[in-house]
Symmetry: C2
Subunit: 403 residues, 2 copies
């Protein structure tokens, strides 16, 4: 029997009405005589509610108990979906990750699936059943529950597709696919029919919230095609497939922007060998992810300015760590939260020269000042004032013929 | 190491503030160098919220998924309590019933614990840890989650006490013990210091909501002493111990009343052998519990009236079943929800004659009409109008010197 994996995100199962809708979608696949595996997230809001509880009990809530707590959300969603399917006359049942089992490795709150035992699930599918499996979690070698990090149900869906050699994998969410840019930022955004793993990975990492980046990486590594589609409206979604392939004649596939970056500048740092390492080491040790970095050329050979971006939620911690850092001397520390990273992504830029120039030129004409730049093989990111994000997206969307 | 089992009811863990308080109570036992096993219920309200969800999805929600759903409540409570204990510096961790494991048999929604594997928990306790184990649930021979029925965490606590040969078992709840009668019904109610299993069993079955009757039965069968006490105020609770023993000079130990009984009367039933069985069989098959029964003497040898009580939630179903019942002929069917069962309970009545008379006489003087009577070795129950309950309790409380 051909197997299809259906993942439903938090908003797709966000109310009982929506769970009824989801059950209907599942039924349409079952009627096609497919072996259907369902993997839902927790109902939207649930996870945040639970996190709020931990904050009131401890400023450093134990990571393993955090996972026990959060994993209950998917347990609830699975039971409700399976119950609804049974109500509609289908053979269905919920499967907790320990019942499958789904085995994980790595830290609590950020583990990865390394094995899924297929036997029981396959037997159930072959008997005509629809297994509804908890996403976002698994059990580790100590028989304890671990979670896969925010958005981890995407990774569950991809890994289920891998282990069950699924014919198809559909990621149902609240948007009907991946867009050239966030439609809320630009009215001319267009849905992308087909996109490569690499482009999707960059887009997911650079602010497009459709998918968890780790899941895209898992899909790329295991060469698993998947579609992103809407559980609310019946429409063809976006197919994610193939490495570094261009699926259209456009050079740029999509444009993203971020909302929660902060720019930190250390002015007048005493310039000596190893100063950057001295600054970044304590940040690394405290799990603060430094993204874009630029170091000015030291004019007098003695002092330099260092600018980098971090997630805004890390801003206070970062400032504190730099203040406490006795290995560096500097004159002033500034932190600007009113910035945004705008990125253009496309495998087409590998073979097309001059994209950087065209991007900078288009922004310059609109008098949009670029603070920091970072590039990879298939993306160019610039840091700009967040007031200018919509304007920047509009001009870039037009420049690269995405309108 | 001496082991103590601490059960915390839904209201005791009903808010984060209360969970903090519970963690403090646990700590006081740990400081006494006891091996502490904690078994909490779900936070109050959680279970009802989840049940409400099932009702919207199906009028006959699958029993096995119902158990998966409901069991998540204790998972959440365990993670929060264990997390709080770790925050306070204690070695603690949550244990799901499948991790222990706690094995059950019997139907979903009403299973019973038949085995608890001690090894892992004992190892954890001996290493100085405080296990926080999910109450109300276990896993059956098919490796699926089952629940023990409403109030089932009491049974979990008793069975944990049994398997771990606990030195002490404390049931923490929102009242500070078992009272001679519900203090909300009668201001002169007194706390009972010590009560026998049998009396407690009758009281729990007859409307005192302090304990789940099954749990009291388990305690009786396994001869496990336990205390009921308050998690809100520090006070000696009530000790439940010993079969059919009187622990005071009072003949009557307690008085209970119910709130959700309905009285059904079938008037003018054609009287022939087996008519009562014909009436009760379909009710039994539909899991409707018939409690008190009285059949009038058939005056003309042809017709009789039959009166019985059921839970009010079963009233509509009962009327429907009797209407559809083609094996019986009757003239009229009435159903009265404004009734209440008032019971006096005490092992003292085994050896003291005349208790029935004293009860009826005391009620008669206050002009309280008795509709139905039922008795056992250690209790007498009467059905009266629910408007007269407080009056009846007051007169009986005084008559039997409980004031």
């Amino acid at each position: 029997m051909k197997i299809i994996v259906l993942k439903f995100g938090g908003t797709s199962v966000g109310s009982l009405e929506r769970i009824k809708k989801v059950a209907k979608i599942i039924a349409t696949y079952k009627k096609k005589k497919l072996g259907v595996i369902v993997v839902p997230s927790a109902m939207s809001g649930t996870t945040n509610e639970l996190i709020k509880k931990t904050l009131e009990l401890s400023n450093n809530f134990d990571a393993s108990e955090y996972d026990v707590l959060l994993s209950s959300g998917e347990q609830i969603a699975c039971a409700l979906i399976a119950g609804r399917l049974k109500h509609l006359g289908y053979k269905a049942r919920s499967w907790m990750s320990w019942q499958v089992p789904i085995l994980t490795e790595g830290p609590y709150g950020g583990s990865r699936i390394n094995k899924i035992n297929k036997n029981r699930i396959l037997k159930f599918i072959n008997s005509g059943g629809i297994p509804v499996i908890t996403g976002f979690q698994g059990i580790n070698s100590e028989n304890r529950i671990t979670t896969l990090g925010r958005g981890g149900t995407d990774a569950s869906a991809i890994m289920l597709s891998k282990f069950f050699k699924a014919h198809e994998c559909n990621i149902y969410t609240d948007v009907d696919g991946v867009y050239t840019t966030d439609p809320r930022n630009h009215s001319k955004a267009k849905k992308i029919n087909k996109i490569s793993y690499d482009e999707m990975l960059e887009m997911a990492s650079l602010g497009a919230k459709v998918m968890q980046p780790t899941a895209v990486q898992d899909a790329k590594l295991n060469n698993i095609n998947f579609s992103v589609k809407s559980s609310f409206i019946k429409k063809k979604g976006t197919l994610i497939t193939g490495n570094n392939k261009a699926f259209s004649d456009k050079i740029i596939t999509g444009i993203t922007s971020t909302k929660n970056d902060s720019k930190v500048t250390i002015i007048g740092v005493k310039d000596k060998p190893g100063v950057a390492a001295s600054i970044f080491k304590p940040l690394f040790l405290n799990h603060i992810n430094v993204d874009m970095v630029v170091q000015n050329i030291s004019l007098n050979g003695k002092e330099t300015d260092l600018t980098f971006t971090i997630k805004s939620e890390d801003a206070n911690k970062t400032k504190k760590l730099i203040n406490q850092n006795k290995k560096i001397l500097y004159r002033k520390l500034t932190c600007d939260k009113n910035v945004s990273k705008v990125s253009i992504i496309g495998v087409g830029m590998i073979t097309t020269p001059g994209i950087t120039y065209r991007m900078f030129q288009a922004l310059a004409i609109k008098k949009i000042n670029i603070m920091v730049i970072s590039t990879s093989e298939i993306k160019i990111s610039v840091l700009i004032s967040n007031k200018l994000v919509k304007k920047a997206i509009a001009v870039l969307h037009k420049e690269f013929k995405l309108d």
